[in-house]
Amino acid sequence: MLRIVRPVLLSGLLLLLFGIGFPAVVWAVAQLLPGGRAAGSPVSVHGRVVGFRYIGQRFRRPGYFHGRPSAVGYNAAGTGASNLSATSPALLAAARAHLDTLLRQNPGLRPADVPAELLTASGSGLDPDLSPQAALVQVPRVARARRLPPSQVEALVRRQTTSPWLGFMGPAHVNVLTLNIALDSLAARP
């Protein structure tokens, strides 16, 4: 019996230190960071929280840019990927279905213009980004729905494109939520 006391005591102490103390210190430091980072970087429009900066959302209206397909419908409480293998017929069928929907929603779009990311589901189901290419193919539809000149919408997409970190690390990408919020304020101007 005695031989178990020391391991238990040590484990209890280490639990306090690493399971409670360490996270507490990190929590305290995180609360001091700007931008609401600790809470998940919430994004507000006119005082209402409309989402989180890094969490993708489901956009369906023709006047908004749409994000990538999501295997969980952008359910941020039950995230996941499709887990379809590269050789799976289900993957090809899903991609074909997404392509058909895209071509239907964006008349004038040719398959050769569509980047593969718009036919494939993301790893988390919450991918907030698009490549600049994928955003630009949606410009005609969005411009028509918003009754804005396409060149203006295209310029907005380019302004909203995040360049690679440090200029060369990683791809350029567009955050769909911030793009759509900027689109709203652009369209609201008289």
């Binding site: 639990l15 360490f22 969490i55 790893g123």
Partner: protein, 573 residues
């Protein structure tokens, strides 16, 4: 192709950081003063004094191991108890009302975190309370990482001992030093970096808010930043959320991606630097570092190259070409194909298994280098244990090299005799035997059950890919990796229990084997270095070592690989 330079740059950066960190590690384990002593020294002494431990009492390897195993027993009981009673936690500790786990799931999860595997047959956002994430999973991640470092250091010390009467050391001193002096300060730095990068750190429950189109929804979050730090640093790998590093809250930007890269490789690399200093053999450390880096590159490069060539099935749809290829299923746009694949390869080599993309959706040929990297588990490998696995290969290679030139097999001046070779071969074979036997059992069960797709329901992608999923799960368990194919439904009694043996064998057999070898070499007299002795610090030996690893890997695994990834590649599904 500038993309591939990103990963190389990050690996090079980590190697550069490994130098000062390795030197710090050497000072800590040699008992020399360090600049963090004023803060961490009293904390370390408290850890000895409170439970009444004597850190100066040296032990032989059997009591050393038994004391560590006693701690493991306590941790396992704690973990399983909390998981079984998770639904009874007060709301402040469990704001999103995670339910209790079934007994088989609790056992699997407990063993998984205990052995640093971190295979998860649950999804963090629905299956784990905040308290569990921090006080069970995060706690065990620290404990298992501390154990890995401790046993690694013990073996290094035994290899370098000059006094034949010396004992292995004191497990509490090695373990507590690892936790308090190494893991704690590094984790604090990395956690803050993650928090700065946008990884949440909150005890508030999931956020309920409407999205931009006005549709109500729930966004899971939590105390993630603290968790991420030890997940990477300790070669653990269990994600806070199901998608792991693909989830934007675990990995929001390329900056945090870079921090993930550095954190996961840092301590495995620093360990090699450290051993060079502790053994006073910098040439040996350079040779090992070179072999590990070469092995990682040799297997990671084809993986990345194959993946960016794209999916021929998707190409038939006639869509636009993209830089990096069309293999974007299961990947994230802020990283892209090449960085995600390179990161996955690194996470197979250091078997942390924190992946930024769905493992299921890679090109079938890419699964081959992934599985090989996991199974070899020595191209850096996990902190501490990677070196133990490499030691096994070194012993075998030194033995073979000596026989080839007709000399007495010896390692670091000590004769390698039958007991050491038996231990080395047993370790080399034990893991693969368990994997193959378990995979055979699973395949047989599936094949002999009528209507397995409905009665068992394990596999989301049947055919050769389904076999790959099962094989991958078992290799991952043995290697202490923990990633898996999402299409394999793990949360059933069969798949909760089957990998447990693999995880326990994969964790403790190399530890016991390496301790046996090091303790066996310790009391032997040192042979004087002669002209024809095998020089470990040579390119010849390094090349031989790589060849031995390749041959062992091929002999042990290629037949299984032909049933899985290679069959899928050659036209199966």
């Amino acid at each position: 192709m500038l993309d591939s330079l990103n990963a190389l740059l990050l690996v090079a950066l980590t190697a550069a950081l490994a130098l000062p960190v390795g030197r710090y590690l050497a000072r800590v384990y040699a008992g020399q003063p360090t600049w963090l002593d004023p803060v961490l020294g009293p904390l370390e002494r408290l850890c000895y004094r409170l439970p009444g431990l004597d850190p100066t009492r040296p032990m032989r390897w059997q009591p050393y191991l038994l004391h560590l195993l006693a701690l493991h027993a306590v941790w396992l009981v704690w973990a399983v108890a909390v998981l079984l009673l998770q639904d009874r936690l007060p709301a402040a500790l469990n704001p999103d009302h995670a339910p209790a786990m079934s007994w088989s799931q609790a056992l699997h999860t407990g063993i998984s975190f205990l052995t640093s595997t971190n295979a998860q047959h649950y999804s963090g956002e629905t299956g784990a309370a905040y308290f569990t994430q921090l006080a069970v999973f995060g706690f065990l991640q620290f404990m298992s990482a501390g154990t890995s470092l401790a046993v690694g250091v013990a073996v290094v010390r035994a290899l370098g001992a000059e006094d034949a009467q010396a004992r292995l050391g004191n497990p509490y001193q090695d373990f507590i030093r690892s936790c308090v002096r190494v893991l704690l300060p590094l984790s604090l730095v990395v956690a803050v970096l993650f928090a700065v990068g946008g990884v949440p750190m909150t005890l508030a429950g999931a956020a309920h808010s409407a999205n931009l189109e006005g549709v109500a929804g729930t966004v899971a979050r939590g105390p993630v930043a603290a968790f991420e730090a030890i997940k990477e640093l300790g070669s653990n790998g269990g994600g806070f959320f199901g998608p792991n590093d693909a989830h934007p809250f675990e990995n929001p930007t390329f900056f945090t991606f870079a921090v993930h890269h550095v954190a996961v490789l840092l301590l495995p690399m620093a360990f090699v630097v450290m051993l060079g200093r502790l053994l006073r053999r910098p040439g040996l450390a350079r040779m090992l570092f070179g072999v590990m880096a070469a092995g990682l590159l040799l297997l990671a490069t084809p993986a990345v190259w194959l993946e960016q060539r794209g999916n021929p099935a998707l190409a038939t749809l006639g869509v636009a070409a993209q830089p990096g290829g069309n293999q974007l299923e299961g990947k994230e746009m802020r990283f892209g194909v090449v960085p995600t694949t390179a990161y996955a390869a690194i996470n197979m080599a250091v078997p942390a298994g924190t992946i930024a993309g769905a493992q299921d959706s890679y090109q079938p040929a890419v699964e081959v280098p992934f599985m090989l990297l996991m199974q070899i588990d020595a191209f850096f490998g996990g902190l501490g244990t990677g070196f133990l696995n490499m030691l096994i290969y070194v012993v075998i290679a030194a033995f073979v090299a000596s026989l080839m030139v007709g000399r007495t097999p010896e390692l670091l001046g000590k004769k390698i005799e039958a007991p050491q070779m038996q231990a080395a071969v047993l370790v080399a074979v034990a893991g693969p035997v368990v994997v193959l036997a378990s995979a055979a059992l699973a395949a047989w069960w599936w094949a002999t059950t009528p209507n397995p797709a409905t009665t068992l329901g394990w596999l989301g992608n049947p055919g050769a890919h389904g076999f790959s999923a099962m094989l991958y799960e078992l290799i991952s368990a043995t290697a202490g990796n923990g990633s898996g194919f999402g299409s394999l439904s793990g949360n059933n009694p069969f798949w909760n229990l089957l990998p447990c043996l693999a995880m326990l064998v994969g964790r403790f057999v190399p530890i016991v084997g390496a301790l046996l070898i090091a303790a066996g070499l310790l009391p032997k007299p040192t042979m004087p270095a002669s002209l024809g002795a095998i020089r470990l610090e040579s390119v010849t030996f390094a090349a031989l070592l790589l060849v031995i690893i390749a041959i062992l890997g091929a002999l042990l695994f290629f037949p299984a690989l032909t049933l899985g990834p290679l069959a899928e590649l050659l036209g199966g599904r």
